[in-house]
């Protein structure tokens, strides 16, 4: 099992450009999340999904959109990148129910720089 993978690992954008970050998990998890991590701060939730075809806003959703057309994939889109979106982005997934004691499994992160 690959676990949670993220594509790409690094990216540099110019202000106004768009891009999509891909998260994939092979553990058949229902829940998926996108977080961002900024210096001096913990991870903050951008958007999340509780199942295929569903998405919801988290703590810092402005400037981002998401889609979950397939259960194993969760896409994070930036339509018009801004320097304030320079950050490290983490995807995570979690199974539904108590069997796995609610652990979230994290991807390796994507470092995004917006110039």
């Amino acid at each position: 099992n690959a676990g949670v993978t993220q594509t790409p690992k690094f990216r540099v954008l110019k202000t106004g450009q768009s891009m999509t970050l891909l998260c994939a998990q092979d553990m058949n998890h229902e829940y998926m999340y996108w977080y961002r991590q900024d210096p001096g701060m913990g991870l903050r939730l951008i958007h999340y999904s509780v199942g295929e075809g569903t998405t919801a806003k988290g703590e810092v959703p402005d400037g981002y959109n998401v889609s979950r057309l397939k259960k194993q994939n969760f896409l994070l889109g930036l339509e018009s990148a801004a320097p304030s979106q320079t950050s490290v982005y983490f995807c995570a997934s979690s199974p539904y129910g108590v069997a796995f004691r609610n652990e979230q499994f994290f991807g390796p992160g994507t470092r995004l720089t917006v110039l």
Binding site: Y31, Y33, Y35, G40, M41, G42, L43, R44, L45, Y48, V50, A56, G58, V88, F90, A92, S94, R101, N102, E103, Q104, F106, P108, G109
Partner: protein
Amino acid sequence: AQTVTQSQPEMSVQEAETVTLSCTYDTSESDYYLFWYKQPPSRQMILVIRQEAYKQQNATENRFSVNFQKAAKSFSLKISDSQLGDAAMYFCAYRSEEGSARQLTFGSGTQLTVLP
């Protein structure tokens, strides 16, 4: 909304010694989980230990243990016999069991340095 506070931005410990990292949280909920995650320079988030709020017994995982004080809303991490590989950023996190999202709320982290 829940908040998690880690008041020690940086800590250091001598190799083989014991160190305690502090975490407090604010919630009105009764059903939740607490976690400590480790983030080494590789950026990978690694689960260190978890605690269910309804369990009074403190969780332990080898050299890692917690002091969970539910009434005080405190959740500290003790690392015994510190090793060089323990050097990392440590995050305390809260997860509610009373909503549909089940997302994690993180503290700002404590950077732990292990001195040889």
